[in-house]
Symmetry: C2
């Protein structure tokens, strides 16, 4: 806003738009509660104190805090695009998110990132982007795109780009891989996020010395303390799978809390709807004993200042009027949410309709060469490497099992919890199909298929018989992406994910119902896994141990190479 | 440094240059003391822990803190240029200063600022510059230069320029003066320092809304708290005249200390030599009850992060090896000082000789049209406005006094503590001379003259008789600047200040002796004022109340206009 205008309104020479009367302002800079009115003109806070305004809202002593900030989130995990995501989290008090569009980037590259930008525009949320640093995650799978340093650099000057997203390839940093270092060099001076689970000692020092500034993978106070001492900002994460808040809370003190933020990383629809977003983390932290002012500061100013978003994060004149109003300082539940001076949510629901917009047309991303796809596995041995699924763990075990066969063809054995699993390449139409066996999913019949398969996002399918697998896979393709449960020739339930095969075009509550139906259908087929399609989507993730499957075949993650299915 | 090199050294793949063994590292991020070795390679800290290094220095358990940072200083007040200033403060642990070259800019404009840059180069101190926002301070005096927004903007992209210096013209901000707003607009996105003594309420809100981010003029906790709440960083100042540390210390808490820094603003040679620099402020703050880790954090990380100097302010891998070693955490006295990995000072003395360098040739700045200078004051009335000097106060009183006269010429009356005072324009050679009377200086005979006369820096002279005044003024001109004490035709003592008429070419301890000699000579002439030439240098400062003298005449500061000498 023109400073002349700001000065006029701050002086009270002309009436402002909105006056929030009888507020208790959460002063995250001074660490105090300040009783004051707050004047807003257009997108900005213009003054604390009594002012003339066109509209007065009496808050009756409610608290006013800066809008909450998620320091690191993959919106795709919510299975809806940014516009719909914003409709979900804005009523929860989130006004800014820093995203890494890592999933869609693996499918559609820069086009995918641009789609995320466009889908966020004119919505109730500021979406900033950290550019995905590891697309693809490895060479052991076929992804839809490769992003080199020069691809990422081409977006660096976009006003919504803050820097380089989590540098997951920490071995590449430490061993000075040129491709990795060139990305770091391209973002010198910008924000660079880290991802270094359990890294410590000299390796961590090298990672930090390379310019990496944050970490959201800490699981213990000891790990976080070491990273803090070395200068990293700690993003405390509370995702759907990885939940670190209660473990890290004992570390937080008045002396160090200014170096910590909150983030959700990956949250599925049901978690967002049931547990909330950053607001839920604030409440959980306060429940866990953290001073409310410290918790709110971590969720606002700390993230803003880490990412150098100087126009937000505090309730002071000249800053954006991103404001959250709530009644209970010990359990903040946003009653009113303002973003850029506009009331966007009230009592947990949107108060404005985002413009309908014409979503950018994305090309279909499920491109399968069916002529080359064949789920039969020739019995080239007796004993095979089987992926051992473990509930609640992204890591698998490698199990050597005897595989039944008939007429030279290896067979699943659903009664013995041995299913066939396949990954069908869906980006290039190459027909490449990795095949193997999985135990632990517990399907007695039928099949599950998913176009979400971290991080390459080919179609991953597991089933009791080839026909069910074919039905499920073909339905995923017909939907241009989705989760599908099939039995024989029948499709039992599905979650259409037509946007890059990752996200739904439906409202998030409807997506949640579809997921519930898919889970129920899978349970009816015998599985006891809590979220079977989600579980399936991680069985292709070749950078997390121990044995995974990609379109190129079985990957021994410890050795980081392809291995044969048969051992004898 | 190239990140490949940093990573190599952080991993310990190759030996580093220096290992500081048995250190207790002051972790200003985590707020802890960490026992660790510290490895340095060239200009950088590369690791905390045990490393091979060419040179090992056993610290025997001494503390290692980041180098100290002065957040706001006018180096000219030390009466030596940046190179010599650095030789004084580097042994005190200061490794970075943020300067406003306001005084030399008033004399020499951009050339003066460039001179400061050059004089700082290759020295033991990082000197960053905030560009002087108010040159000249007003139109009521003739300065040597005028700096418009486009002059300042021409230096904005210099790597050592951080932004716009203290915006002293706060009325200009609040009343939306175009010249002031254009300066603010030119530095949007950069650091912009404030200067707003006693400003509060809506006027302060307008000042903050305009984008001004700091204030170093707070004298009470209430004033500082209001500014803090509105988002300003508070620079606690401890200058030679204005000393605010003990008054503001009660405000500092664990919750808000991260929003405060230390600065010295203006320190004369004797203060630097006797009371130290930022190190002295740290000790004084700890003596006053502040936690040592909070005090050190304010002196390091807080200033670095306020000015977005992300390469310093903490002892972490990848950051500059600007380090201070001391033995007593409760009274830090730097034993070793490293700047950029180089040991620059040991036991309070320089450990390296700065390169001699050829100082930039500056033009002579004392250009007086003697033909037009005449100290006689026609007796055009009986009673006149007299400047009433008050010891220890930059503000004066306006006193109406009867002025003796003879033959139509007004006379001083030293016995009655009434001296003549004049300001002789020295930039343009215009001959403009403002004349009047001053009480409170107490000279019985002789005269004092100074080419330092805030902020226009014309020659200001006060004396018992015209001949002494002429001798002193002519000697100042012959020296191309200085402080001079004269009696009749004799020069009794002098401090040559040939650099812009503001700074000496001598080492600071010698300058201090010269000042002592000048003070002693002035005392012998009858004054009881502690620092008579310094006192004189503020009698021309037309922006501080109540009655001041410039080359244009007497200024009534409250009415902010020139007023006649005679009232009847």
């Amino acid at each position: 806003m023109e400073i002349r205008t700001l000065i006029e309104h701050a002086r009270g020479d002309v009436p402002s738009d909105i006056l929030l009367r009888n507020a208790r302002v959460v002063d995250v800079l001074g660490g105090e509660i300040v009783t004051s009115d707050v004047a807003i003109y257009r997108s900005r806070i213009v003054g604390l104190g009594t002012y003339d305004a066109t509209e007065t809202i009496d808050l009756g002593g409610a608290y006013v805090a800066p809008g909450f900030i998620d320091a690191h989130v993959h919106i795709e995990s919510a299975m809806v695009p940014p516009g719909e995501y914003a409709r979900t989290v804005a009523p929860l008090g989130t006004t800014t998110v820093v995203t890494d569009p890592h999933e869609i980037a693996n499918v559609l590259g820069l086009d995918g990132i641009r789609y995320m930008f466009e889908s966020a525009k004119y919505g109730p949320l500021s979406m900033y982007v950290m550019l995905s640093a590891c697309v693809p995650a490895s060479d052991l799978a076929t992804s839809g795109a490769v992003l080199h340093w020069y691809d990422l650099a081409s977006l660096r000057s976009d006003p919504w780009v803050l820097g380089l997203a989590e540098v997951m390839n920490f071995p590449g940093v430490i061993t000075r891989d040129d491709g990795v270092l060139d990305k770091l060099r391209s973002f010198a001076g910008a924000a660079i996020d880290g991802h270094a689970p359990r890294l410590g000692g000299r390796a961590l020092q090298a990672y930090v010395a390379a310019g990496i500034q944050s970490d959201h993978e800490c699981t213990t106070p000891e790990e976080a303390r070491e990273k803090l001492r070395l200068g990293m900002t700690i993003f405390i994460r509370e995702g759907s799978v990885a939940r670190n808040l209660s473990a890290l809370l004992p570390l937080v003190t008045p002396a160090n809390h200014h170096r910590m933020c909150f983030c959700t990383d990956d949250r599925q629809p049901s978690d967002l709807l049931d547990r909330g977003h950053i607001d839920g983390m604030i409440r959980a932290a306060i429940d866990g004993g953290l001073d409310p002012l410290m918790a709110i500061r971590m969720a606002t100013w700390n993230a803003a200042s880490h990412f150098r978003l100087w126009d937000r994060g505090a309730v002071t004149p000249g800053r954006r009027a991103d404001l959250v109003v709530f009644d209970d300082l010990r359990a903040p539940r946003p009653r009113l949410v303002f973003r850029g001076g506009r009331l966007v949510a009230r009592d947990g629901a949107m108060a404005v309709e985002p413009p309908p917009g014409e979503p950018r047309r994305l090309r279909g991303t499920v491109n399968v060469n069916w002529d080359a796809v064949d789920f039969r596995v020739p019995a080239e041995g007796r004993r095979a490497r089987v992926i051992g699924f473990v509930e609640g763990d992204l890591a698998t075990r490698e199990v050597i099992e005897e595989i039944p066969s008939r007429d030279g063809v290896a067979l699943s054995n659903p009664e013995g919890d041995l299913l066939k699993i396949a990954v069908v390449e869906r980006h290039l139409g190459s027909g490449a199909t990795g095949k193997g066996f999985v135990s632990g999913l517990g399907l007695r019949r039928g099949a599950l298929a998913s176009s979400v398969a971290h991080d390459h996002h080919n179609i991953i399918v597991a089933g009791a018989d080839d026909e069910s697998m074919r039905t499920a896979t073909r339905r995923v393709a017909a939907l241009q992406g989705g989760w599908v449960v099939a039995d024989g020739r029948a499709v039992l339930a599905e979650v259409p994910l037509p946007i890059a095969g990752l996200m739904s075009a439906d409202p998030l509550p409807r997506v949640r119902k579809q997921i519930d139906a898919v889970d129920a259908a899978a349970r009816a087929l015998g599985t006891r896994v809590a979220s079977p399609c989600m579980a399936l989507s991680f069985l292709g993730l070749e950078v997390i141990p121990a044995l995974k499957l990609t379109d190129k075949g079985l990957v021994d993650v410890e050795r980081f190479q392809l291995v044969p299915l048969w051992v004898s």
